[in-house]
């Protein structure tokens, strides 16, 4: 059977530089619970990719296991996606990036995936400075297995069943800062205005970019006693730095008073403009960033925004001195020493 597909026409839909609409960056229908914070994050990723006008096929989406990891199926359907095993997305990412450095990698993980089973892999992804955007959708709870605490649950936090968490939380922002990440941000799934520019900045950053997104679980962690509920998070947000993303090919028109803003050039030539709300905050000072996050944590405040953007560090590929051409497309002739090379090798074993 043959048929002619109807051309997609969305009257009045805004188009980006590639002529694509926002809908072209969407994916499959979400199967998460209605109102899930993760769906808002998905929408923010869609918006960011649309605004950056990324050709969909130049994106690769990677995830582990869990509610958050399912979401890679819900955005940019024109990109290859890989929903791997629990806590091991960073390893898949390292291999995939090793093979093809030209794609943009978006990893989506959760607090169980990243901070319990996958803590080691997250740490080593930071250490290797693999070039990817790592979205950690953080709700302090295991959703798919129905409500166990995760390693990011705060002390004293209560589960839906009323159990109290007594263990110290692991804060991915502090972890990434201490391991040397060069782009560390935190946001809130309900704050699209803050989240979209951060995602765009993270995608433009060369090297490992972590965005920890507080993303309340409406089913298992949105009750009184939870420190990751909508109500609690909204009351305890502290925004040090708001981010506006400006692409290099556009004129920077943001008009901020001297002393209120700082412009940071991203590695692809784009600029990110940081609006300082707390004037004493310095987002390019790692030690200060660590102290700032910890001071606010003591007051039960989540610092959100771009917490740290570092000076340039060589990424994974630069450290390995690989060619600009992706390794998966280096011609075979350049890879095989041939019979002549083999004779030379064998001479050393006589």
């Amino acid at each position: 059977m043959t048929f002619i597909a109807k051309p997609k026409i969305h009257r009045g839909a805004v188009r980006n530089e590639l002529g694509l609409t926002r809908r072209d960056y969407e994916g499959g229908m979400s199967t998460l619970c209605a109102g899930c914070g993760h769906d808002s994050v998905t929408a923010a990723i869609v918006q960011a990719c649309f605004e950056l006008a990324l050709p969909p096929h130049t994106v690769a989406k990677l995830s582990g296991i869990g509610c958050s990891s399912k979401t890679t199926a819900y955005f940019v359907s024109g990109a290859h996606g890989f929903n791997s095993v629990h806590g091991r997305m960073p390893a898949i990412a390292a291999g995939a990036i090793a093979a093809n450095r030209r794609l943009r990698y978006i990893g989506v993980s959760g607090d169980g995936d990243s901070l319990s089973i996958g803590l080691g892999q997250l740490g080593h992804a930071v250490r290797r400075n693999i070039d990817m955007l790592y979205m950690l959708e953080n709700n302090g709870v295991y959703g798919l297995t129905k409500g166990q605490f995760s390693a990011s649950a705060d002390v004293g936090s209560k589960s839906k069943k009323g159990e109290r968490n007594d263990h110290e939380p692991i804060d991915p922002v502090l972890l990434a800062l201490s391991l040397g990440a060069t782009f560390v941000a935190r946001s809130f799934s309900g704050d699209k205005e803050q989240l979209v520019p951060l995602i765009k900045a993270g995608l433009s950053h060369r090297g490992f970019a972590l965005i920890d997104v507080l993303s309340p679980c409406v089913t298992f962690n949105d009750h009184e006693g939870s420190t990751k509920s909508y109500a609690y998070v909204r009351e305890h947000l502290q925004i040090p730095v708001a981010a506006d993303y400006v692409e290099s090919r556009r004129e920077i028109t943001v008009d901020y008073g001297e002393g209120d803003s700082v412009s940071v050039e991203m590695h692809d030539g784009a600029h990110i403009v940081l609006r300082k709300i707390d004037k004493s905050y310095e987002p390019t000072n790692r030690a200060r960033a660590l102290a700032y996050v910890q001071e606010h944590a003591q007051r039960n405040e989540y610092v959100t925004g771009l917490i740290y953007v570092g000076t340039y560090r060589r990424d994974f590929h630069e450290r390995h001195n690989t060619p600009e051409e992706p390794l998966n497309s280096v011609p075979y002739g350049k890879l095989c020493p041939g019979s002549g090379g083999l004779s030379e090798v064998l001479a050393r074993y006589r």
Binding site: H57, L103, V330, L342
Partner: protein, 607 residues
Amino acid sequence: MPDPERAQARVNDFTVKFANVNGTGSASANALIMKSIFRMGVPVVGKNFFPSNIQGLPTWYEIRVTAEGWRARSGRVDIMVAMNPETYARDLRDLAPGGWLVYDSTWPRPALLSRPDITLIGVPLAQLCQEHFEGARARILMKNIMYAGVLAALLDLDLEVMRGLVAESYAKKPALVEANMKAITLGYDYARANFACPLPAHVERLDCTRGHVMIEGNTAAALGCVFAGATVGAWYPITPSTSLMDAFKAFCTRYRVDPETGRNNYLIVQAEDELAAIGAVIGASWNGARAFTPTSGPGISLMNEFIGLAYYAEIPAVLFDVQRVGPSTGMPTRTQQCDLMACAYASHGDTRHVLLFPADPEECFHFAVEAFDLAERLQTPVFVLLDLDIGMNDWMIPDLQWDDAYQPDRGKVLTAEQLEGMEKFHRYLDPDGDGIPWRTLPGVGSKGAYFTRGSGHNKLGSYTEDSAEYQEVMERLVAKFRTAAAMVPAAVSDGTGKAKLGIVSIGSCDGAVREALDALRRGGVAIDYLRVRGFPFGAEVEAFLAAHETVFVVEQNRDAQLKSLLVLETPVEKRKLHSILHYSGLPLTAQYVVDGVTAAISRGQAA
């Protein structure tokens, strides 16, 4: 096979064993002796028995000199070079009647006199070193190299050949060449002056090693990875696989740095653990690079979850399992073939994997290349099962050959142009009827985009929890496995094929089995031989099992894993199969196989 009784006039047919303390430089002295014999045209077998330790524990090295070119241990010791006081007693015991014991006579060793049936050769090595060399370190190192000189006199080795080897080893440090040669000459002269040289067991020049090299299986496998065009290697260090990645790196440094740009056409990830190592391999392979990981049994255990994902999501991956003694840490520096079952059915759920079983470094090289072709053609993990004996010992093999017409088989990967011509791409269809679907690589274009998942998926690649859709994909994977059976290296056989008795064996058992066959046949036993080289088993394996009344399955593990696979995966009657199991951690000997077969015959289990 040599006469097991007495060590006597054995020209080019004897075994020298060196008992050393590890970390004292004995390895270079032993390698020098072996290489010298090899360069004199006489075939040698070298086996290293070493502790899981860096310095101070007993270590042994065996050199079998074998004009007939046998490839296994002989299982006997004709000359013992006993340099480790801690193991004197057992080293003395291991020596065959009529043998010779070389020791350092600087200090009296009355215990050595307890055997009247051997000849003692005492050389005051420490004393000579004390007199001729300065400094503690030099004295220890030179003591070892000095016994190489003693052996040169006893075995009639060519000093010029030795000098050539020493000069090659220290090409950048000429002063060391002279120091080493001085020690060799001191030992040589002392032995000539004090003993009847050469011994009845000695070396005479032959021309049997031309066109051969001495190489480790791990090195050859690494070379295969380079020639196959592998660009991504991910690993976690584990004995005895480590030297595979070390060799890959060394070859890449030489052959993979772009001469124009200075960039590396390879990337090695030293992962945080084996879970990450296999993850990186799968990520890279998913993305179109040829990627591999070398590991050993414990690493395979850790990789199991990812292996299941790669099987079900149909992603190529190449794993080298250099097997060592298990379970757990086991004896990590000893050899075994103990991961056959663990690899054949690795992971949770219904999984079956493609395995290749090289018998020597030559097959390590070729099977490494073949593993990448099979992994990409079949879109599945492929395991190459070496063992410590193949991987870490130097084997004499014919020069490796390479066909410059070779092109990698990248399998069924759709190009952007092919996708343009298609109405729609679906990941898990079977359009060719061989059970192998077509795949696309990330970046090829949105039309080729699909979502890879380990969750239930249907033939279109969509998520499913529908029973029929799930089973349809699982059935196709069975069809793919059947296709694989005809693609893996076929078993090789030896004999008339008409005997009632047969031996089926695998991997590094080959040398011992072939030598045993020779002895058995000379003793009047009609017996055929089949060596399996791949899993799933091909039709030739079933045919061999069907054609023989009694089949001995020779393998190096306790639980008869090869036999289990044969029973599970072929229609063979279990009662036909008799196991000959060797799992001491030392490489198999021909005598062990001969004893196993003859015992069964005398028990009436085999005619």
